[in-house]
C-alpha cells in the first residue's frame, strides 16, 4: 500500500456543480432550452475542482485538443474573456460543443477525478465561457494572419465545415462557405432541436465567422448549381467537402409509405429548420401525432421523440430491436427523454405498418426479439421470438435508423473515389481525397457520427489545406 498522502482533500470535497434545468413536466411541452446554464459563481466553483494536471488526459480525449486546464483556470480566476479567447484558439464553436459533445466518453470520461467520483463538468464550463462572452463580451475578434491571397471553398456548413472555415480564416485565407439550404449550420440547424441547441446560438457562431471575414452563400447546391471543377475554374485554390451523410434509411417493411411515417430527417427538418412547431404562424406544417412511435435509439431518435412530446403527443414510444445496453444514444439524452415521459419498448421490431382506407397510419405489427450471437458490429444480434407477434397502435411513426451517403455531390464528381457504401475516401490523417485540391471530412467520410468527431476531421483537413496552400500538394 502506498503511504503517500492523497491530493488535498478540499479539492475533492466540492461536489460537481449541478446544471440547473427546466423541470421535466414543464419542458416536455415547450421548445425552450432544457439546461439553464451556470451562474458566474457556480462556474468559478466548478472550475476550482480542476486539479490542473501536468499531463492532462482530458486534452488527449478531445478531438480538437482544447486546452481544457487552461480555459478552466481562467474561469476559476474570473477571467471569462481570457477563457473564451483560450477556447477560440482550438475551437470555433464552443457554445455548440459545450452543449452537444458527448463529454462522458471524451474529456470528462478520462478526467482524473472520474476515477473516484464525478469528473469536472468540462462541457458545462465550456458552455458557460461561450454564453458569458455572448452576453457580456466585447465582440473583439481573435487575431488573424495577413491575407495569403488564396481562396478556399467549403462545401456544406455543418460542424466540420465551420471548423475548416474558422481555422483557415485566421490563417489568412479567403473562405467561402457554400450551403444548399436557405440557412447555414447544417445538422446544427436542421437536425438538433431548439431545446438542445437554440438556433440563435448557431446563428451567432456563424456570425462570428462572418465577422472574421468568411463569406456564407446559401441556396448553393454544389453538384447542381455549381460543380467542384467549376469552383476551381472560378479561382478557388482548394475545396473542402463537409456535406454530411444525409440520405435517410428506411426499414423496408410493408406499409412504410403510409401517411404519418416520416424519416427523422424530414420530421426534424420540418421542426427545426422550417420551425414547423410554430405552424400556422409559419407556413410549413408538421404532423402532430397523438400516439407516436420512434424507430431507432440513437441521439436522433431521442431528439425526434422529445420533439413529438413537445408537439402535444399523448404517448411517445422509442421502439428498438436491441436492448438498453446497445442503445447508441448518450446516456444523458436517454435520461432526459425518460424524464419527459418517453417510454422505451426494447427488443421490439416492427414487421409491418397498417393504415386506414385513406392511406393514413393506424398501427404497427411488431415482434419481440431476444439477443443471439454477436453480429458484424460486435453487438449481439437480435433474433425474433417465435409467436411473439403483437399490435401497437400509432398515428405517427418516425424512422430514425441512421442515414447513408447522399450521392448528389459524389455522382456529379466522377474522379472522387468512394468506398463501397458511397462515402468519400479520404486520408484519415489529412482528409485528402483522390482529387487534387479537394479534402473531405465529417459524416460524408465516416458515416453518421458526432459533431465533435466531424470537427476533429475538419481540424486535420484545415491543417493539411493550409500546408497545401503554403507549400503545394
Amino acid at each position: 500500500m502506498s503511504t503517500q498522502p492523497e491530493k488535498p482533500a478540499k479539492k475533492k470535497s466540492i461536489p460537481r456543480a449541478v446544471m440547473p434545468e427546466q423541470a421535466p413536466e414543464v419542458r416536455r411541452r415547450n421548445f425552450e432550452e432544457v439546461p439553464l446554464g451556470y451562474t458566474k459563481e457556480m462556474a468559478m466553483q466548478e472550475a476550482s475542482r480542476c486539479l490542473q494536471c501536468k499531463k492532462p488526459a482530458c486534452v488527449d480525449g478531445c478531438p480538437v485538443s482544447v486546452d481544457i486546464p487552461g480555459f478552466i483556470k481562467l474561469i476559476k480566476e474570473g477571467d471569462f474573456t481570457g477563457s473564451i479567447r483560450n477556447l477560440w484558439t482550438k475551437n470555433a464553436l464552443p457554445a455548440v460543443c459545450g452543449r452537444v459533445c458527448p463529454q462522458e466518453i471524451q474529456c470528462e470520461g478520462v478526467c482524473i477525478l472520474a476515477k473516484k467520483g464525478d469528473p469536472v463538468a468540462i462541457g458545462n464550463l465550456e458552455r458557460f465561457a461561450a454564453d458569458y462572452e455572448r452576453a457580456h463580451g466585447t465582440g473583439a475578434l481573435p487575431p488573424k494572419s495577413e491575407p495569403t491571397g488564396k481562396k478556399v471553398a467549403v462545401v456544406g456548413s455543418g460542424p466540420s465545415s465551420l471548423t475548416v472555415a474558422g481555422d483557415l480564416i485566421v490563417k489568412g485565407h479567403a473562405v467561402t462557405v457554400l450551403e444548399a439550404f436557405h440557412k447555414p449550420g447544417g445538422v446544427l440547424i436542421y437536425g438538433i432541436p431548439e431545446f438542445r441547441l437554440p438556433k440563435e446560438i448557431v446563428a451567432q457562431e456563424i456570425n462570428f465567422l462572418e465577422r472574421q471575414g468568411a463569406e456564407v452563400q446559401c441556396n448553393a447546391v454544389v453538384g447542381r448549381t455549381v460543380s467542384i471543377d467549376e469552383l476551381f475554374e472560378e479561382g478557388y485554390d482548394a475545396v473542402y467537402l463537409g456535406v454530411g451523410a444525409g440520405l435517410p434509411r428506411f426499414l423496408n417493411v410493408p406499409g412504410e409509405n403510409l401517411i404519418g411515417i416520416l424519416s427523422a430527417n424530414e420530421y426534424l427538418t420540418r421542426a427545426n429548420l422550417m420551425k414547423a412547431y410554430l405552424f400556422p404562424k409559419v407556413d410549413t406544417p408538421i404532423p402532430r401525432g397523438k400516439n407516436v412511435v420512434v424507430l431507432g435509439a440513437g441521439n436522433v431518435a431521442m431528439d425526434a421523440a422529445r420533439t413529438a412530446m413537445r408537439l402535444g403527443a399523448d404517448s411517445v414510444k422509442i421502439v428498438y430491436r436491441r436492448s438498453r445496453e446497445e442503445m447508441p444514444a448518450r446516456t444523458a439524452e436517454i435520461h432526459h427523454a425518460e424524464e419527459e415521459g418517453i417510454e422505451m419498448f426494447l427488443l421490439t421490431a416492427p414487421t409491418k405498418f397498417t393504415g386506414n382506407d385513406k392511406g393514413r397510419l393506424t398501427g404497427m405489427e411488431c415482434l419481440q426479439m431476444e439477443l443471439g450471437e454477436p453480429d458484424d458490429s460486435g453487438r449481439r444480434r437480435p433474433v425474433p421470438k417465435e409467436g411473439s407477434e403483437f399490435q401497437m397502435d400509432c398515428d405517427l411513426a418516425i424512422i430514425a435508423v441512421g442515414s447513408g451517403a447522399n450521392p448528389l455531390l459524389t455522382q456529379s464528381t466522377p474522379d472522387l473515389k468512394l468506398n463501397r457504401w458511397g462515402y468519400i475516401m479520404a486520408d484519415p490523417e489529412t482528409g485528402k481525397t483522390s482529387k487534387r485540391g479537394v479534402w473531405a471530412g465529417g459524416d460524408i467520410v465516416t458515416g453518421a457520427a458526432t459533431v465533435i468527431l466531424a470537427m476533429g476531421a475538419g481540424r486535420k483537413a484545415a491543417d493539411s489545406m493550409h500546408d497545401y496552400l503554403t507549400w503545394g500538394w
Binding site: F181, V221, P248, F250, N265, R270, V282, P285
Partner: protein, 276 residues
C-alpha cells in the same frame, strides 16, 4: 432576393407566371429540372418545375397554380418584388434522344412543364405530336407556345368549350392507333398521368411522367418525396422527377399528396381572412 422581372396571370387568375432573376440557375438548368422556391422568412419550400430558362438574361420562368397559402402568397408578389430563396436546378434533366415519333400529353399547369421538354424533343429531331387539355377554354395555357414547339397539336376541353370535347386520353388513343409512337411524355394531374400510362402500356409505348410529390429539401435528405417505382422506393428529388410511367404507384402518390390537406386548408383560410 430573387427579383421578379415579369408576371402574367393565366387561366382566369388561377395560374400565375413569374420570370425570376436567378443567373446561376439559369446557366445550369436543363429541361425537366425543378427549383425550390420560398417567398419569405417563414415561408414554405415549394418545388416547381421550370417552364423556361434564359441563360443570357439570367432568368428562369415558373408557372404555378394557386392552390394553398404558399401559392396565394406567391400571387401577391408583383414585378420588382422577389422571392427570398430560389434553389436549383434540382433533379435529373429529361433524357433527350431521337427515337422517331413522340407524343407529349399535358394537362393543367403540367403543360408549362411539358413545354420545354416538347421543344427539346423536337430540336433533337423527333416528330412531336402534342395533346393538351384543360377543364375549359379559359383555363387552357400556352396553346401558342405548344403549337410552335410541336409538329401537330391537339387541344381538349372537358366541357367542350374549345377543341375536342373530352379528355386528352381519348385523343391519345386515336393518335396511338394511327401513328407509330415510340415514346410518350405525360405531365399533369396524377389521375391524368395514371390513365395515360394505362393506355400506353396496352400499346407497349415507353412513357415518361414527371412527378411532384410533397418535398422539403429537394436534395435527397428528407425522403418525404419517396414514390414507389416498380415496387421500390425512389426519391423524386434526386432519382427523378421523371420516371417510367408504367412503374409508378399512382394511387399511393395521390394519397400521399393529401398528407397535409387539412393543415393546408386551415392555413390558406387564415391567410385569405387576413387579406380580405
Amino acid at each position: 432576393m430573387f427579383k421578379i422581372v415579369k408576371r402574367e396571370e393565366m387561366s382566369e387568375g388561377t395560374v400565375v407566371l413569374n420570370e425570376i432573376e436567378a443567373p446561376l440557375i439559369a446557366r445550369k438548368a436543363r429541361p425537366g429540372q425543378f427549383v425550390i422556391i420560398k417567398a419569405t422568412e417563414n415561408g414554405e419550400r415549394i418545388p416547381l418545375t421550370m417552364a423556361e430558362t434564359d441563360p443570357e438574361k439570367g432568368t428562369i420562368t415558373i408557372i404555378y397554380m394557386v392552390v394553398g397559402k404558399s401559392t396565394a402568397l406567391f400571387k401577391t408578389l408583383q414585378v420588382g418584388d422577389g422571392y427570398q430563396d430560389v434553389i436549383g436546378p434540382l433533379g435529373k434533366p429529361t433524357h433527350l434522344e431521337k427515337v422517331g415519333t413522340v407524343v407529349c400529353v399535358g394537362g393543367g399547369t403540367g403543360v408549362a412543364v411539358l413545354h420545354p421538354i416538347t421543344r427539346a424533343l423536337k430540336e433533337v429531331g423527333n416528330r412531336v405530336i402534342c395533346i393538351i387539355g384543360a377543364r375549359s377554354k379559359d383555363l387552357l395555357i400556352l396553346e401558342d407556345k405548344m403549337k410552335a414547339a410541336s409538329h401537330e397539336l391537339h387541344v381538349c376541353t372537358d366541357d367542350g368549350s374549345y377543341g375536342h370535347h373530352g379528355f386528352v386520353t381519348e385523343v391519345l388513343k386515336e393518335v396511338l392507333e394511327k401513328e407509330d409512337v415510340k415514346l410518350a411524355v405525360a405531365i399533369g394531374p396524377v389521375p391524368m398521368m395514371k390513365f395515360v400510362s394505362l393506355i400506353t402500356k396496352e400499346k407497349n409505348v415507353k412513357t415518361i411522367v414527371s412527378l411532384n410529390p410533397i418535398m422539403v429539401d429537394g436534395t435527397g435528405m428528407c425522403g418525404g418525396c419517396r414514390v414507389s417505382i416498380g415496387g421500390k422506393n425512389k426519391f423524386a428529388c434526386v432519382d427523378g422527377p421523371e420516371f417510367d410511367g408504367h412503374q409508378v404507384d399512382y394511387d399511393e402518390l395521390m394519397q400521399r399528396l393529401q398528407a397535409y390537406c387539412e393543415d393546408e386548408k386551415a392555413c390558406h383560410d387564415g391567410f385569405c381572412k387576413i387579406r380580405s
